[in-house]
Symmetry: C2
Subunit: 451 residues, 2 copies
């Protein structure tokens, strides 16, 4: 079986687990969010199992509203992803390190620099998950009264990505000669300024970090709105997405791959990795029991707040918990997520409480509760039928849920030839089967000419 027909797997590390009540699970250490040991252990576990990458979410602030819900949630405060991944880089050798970072309240120079540095530190294993920020609580930390409008966020994101990749191309791969005898450190002809002047940014460059063994960090994108998909088609090398059904997954996959082609890209150079929320047991009953152990620990105030937030900030207070979801106004938040949820509620005729119980686990992602064989059957179908190139594994609780996936699901994937037994390469690109990005100076202006 050729290597390119094997799944790619990411380990999505949501501090104590993807399930919102994970921190209350007796097998979870409740201080996971501030324990470096916890993350060192997770990184080593995932690398031993040959995951392609660790994947960290991010938020530029305490996102949720309402002190009561917030104080019952373990997500309010934890490590910042880039500093955490740098710490994990020194204790791992092969696994990729993907951090989320928003284009909304950052400067491209800072982000280009920090990711390039992580990429060098890790020997070419970094990835940047490009997102836009959609919460007022983040905007309020950055001199604004409200967040940007949806369209504006994506225009800014598009320019941000162009500037960042431009900065990653200011040094050619073989620019540094480091000739101790002559005293010439780099070849002046292989060093470029960017001199970007756009609508949102004016950035001269060059970047003060060289290119890494994989050229530059892998670009990951997670937005599934029309603007998000278009940005992904143009720029992303990995796409993190959420689909509930095979048909939706296939439609998304086909659309994105064909849009990538319209941008002149090889569709195989954009890997689509939907999130999955697997709860695995040795028997179906054991899996269900594990799931219920988490569901039963959801504090109602947390469930309701999570639902409101996922629906784009719409306040559901006052609606009967055991009544249907009301009609909702259009959100300025992530549109795709809202639509997925509303469709789900209508399709399965869920009450508000049932809906929050549903999303509190997988939170919009594909929930798979069962034995390894049952889970692999469904993953294999989605993978073989054009719905995914791999999956981002959002373990329900950590490290136990990831350990269960590694102990039960991965052997079954390997039995069917669907997942690697060892890393193919040393860089994230090599393991994902992505091409080395040839150097391209965005402007041909050498530094001398500009000074």
């Amino acid at each position: 079986m050729p290597q390119d027909r094997q799944m790619k797997l990411g380990a999505f590390l949501m501090t104590d687990g993807h399930h919102v009540a994970a921190w209350r699970h007796p097998k979870v250490r409740p201080d996971a969010s501030v324990s470096l040991d916890h993350f060192l252990n997770l990184a080593k576990l995932a690398e031993a199992a040959k995951f392609d990458a660790l994947f960290l979410a991010d938020s530029n602030g305490v996102r949720e509203r309402g002190l009561q819900a917030l104080s019952h949630n373990s997500r309010a405060a934890s490590f910042e992803p880039l500093t955490l991944l740098s710490a994990l880089a020194t204790v791992t050798q092969r696994i990729g390190l993907i951090a989320t970072a928003s284009t909304s309240f950052n400067e491209p120079f800072h982000l280009a620099r920090k990711f390039a540095s992580l990429d060098l530190i890790s020997g070419g294993r970094a990835g940047w998950n490009v997102v836009t920020s959609s919460s007022d609580s983040e905007a309020l930390n950055f001199n604004l009264d409200t967040h940007y409008a949806h369209a504006d966020r994506y225009a800014r994101a598009r320019e941000f990505v162009a500037v960042t990749t431009g900065l990653w191309n200011t040094w050619e791969d073989d620019a540094f000669l480091r000739d101790q005898d002559s005293g010439l450190f780099f070849d002046p002809q292989k060093h470029h300024v960017l001199d970007h002047r756009g609508r949102y940014f004016k950035v001269r460059g060059p970047l003060n970090v060289p290119r890494s063994p994989q050229g530059h960090p892998v670009i990951v994108q997670a937005g599934s709105s029309a603007a998000g998909v278009d940005l992904a088609a143009e720029t992303a090398e990995v796409v993190f997405t959420a689909q509930q059904t095979l048909a939706d997954a296939q439609a998304f996959y086909a659309d994105l791959k064909s849009r990538a082609e319209t941008y002149g890209r090889d569709p195989d150079h954009i890997k689509i990795m939907p999130g999955i929320f697997p709860v695995v047991g040795r028997t179906e009953a054991e899996a269900q029991e594990t799931f219920e152990a988490l569901q039963s620990r959801i504090h109602p105030v947390v469930g309701l707040a999570l639902l409101s937030s996922t629906l784009g900030g719409f306040d559901l207070t006052g609606y009967p918990l055991d009544g249907p979801l009301p009609d909702l106004p259009e959100t300025n938040g992530p549109k795709s997520r809202q639509k997925l949820l509303i469709d789900l509620a209508r399709r399965e005729k869920l009450t508000i409480r049932e809906l929050y119980l549903k999303i509190a686990g997988a939170r919009g992602h594909w929930q798979l509760v069962g034995t390894a064989e049952q889970i692999v059957d469904r993953l294999e179908e989605r993978f073989r039928k054009g719905g995914a190139d791999g999956f981002n594994v959002m373990a329900p609780f950590l490290p136990g849920g990831l350990g269960d996936f590694i102990a039960l699901v991965i052997p079954e994937l390997r039995r069917r030839g669907l997942f690697r037994t060892d890393y193919e390469g040393r860089t994230l690109r090599e393991n994902l089967g992505l091409p080395f990005p040839a150097h391209r100076a965005r402007t041909a202006v050498p530094l001398q000419a500009a000074e």
Copy 2:
């Protein structure tokens, strides 16, 4: 001898060494700036010798002008300090981790968060060296055409530090209960917003990182202009400075400690650690030989560019290299450094070439070439006579120069009881003898009231 009469020592890690020609030294690996192994080795060396902290400089761009000089210099591109220190945090246990970061082109929320995260990752060992940026080449990477005026930079820096420390005080030390049974993760009464609305920044908070075992990162300050000293007196816990003579060092020390008192601070809670550039040998001749081995490797184009840049960007092209330094106009750059250099040139009647050879090594800092005994004599004098609380050791080349200091100078310091034989504590504050910063909510507004 009481512990507070021992010197504090920082290991200033300028990639391949503080000397501008260090990278050409045969004992230096020319790719040091992109070698994680190089830095891992340095961190372990310094920690084994019980240094208080590693100290990293920073620049938000390729600082020097002129492609010819730039291409003969090893400083153009290297790791970003915060990602590098996070990587070093996992392989060290006790040594402090101080990174420079500019207030000029950053957002307080990002910086507060990243340093708080490094502080947590390292178990309370982080420090932030607060600087302002003074080069156009940095400004051009951040949507500006020129850098801020000197006064404006410091006003912004002052507000930046206030916002950052405010964010570090949005969670009380014992805010997190993590009660798995009740589901209460934190005590809502121990969580505060900042709600800062100032001239430069509007930041609500709270920060999404908890306080660390040392409360929050140690604040370090390096500016020696009047505005810089005043900011240090108000906010800094460690001051990194440059003085050539005992009299200057004593005057600076006395002035800063007394200014700190006018801000209501205990003068012992601000540690003054000037930079030193030690070239040590088993004999005086050996030390001189080591120094000449470096000096002889300075490419003239590098020496001249370094001098121009240190003088605030004044272009010395066209002036005879073997003639005197011309009269210079007032700079918009770091005033203190320019004045120190001009004074040095006039005092010692140096030509332009002699001046650049002089600063190319120590670059404005105190240069000590000799045996361990000679060097310790002078350090002891400066330390005992009220010129310093310790020193920031800027090894001429790395790791060799640091290794020489550890092998020769530190044993002599210890013989005289001037330096520790083991760490006093686990956090940077404990080792520096700085107090734990009691939590103070900058505003008394709990989150509930603000929403």
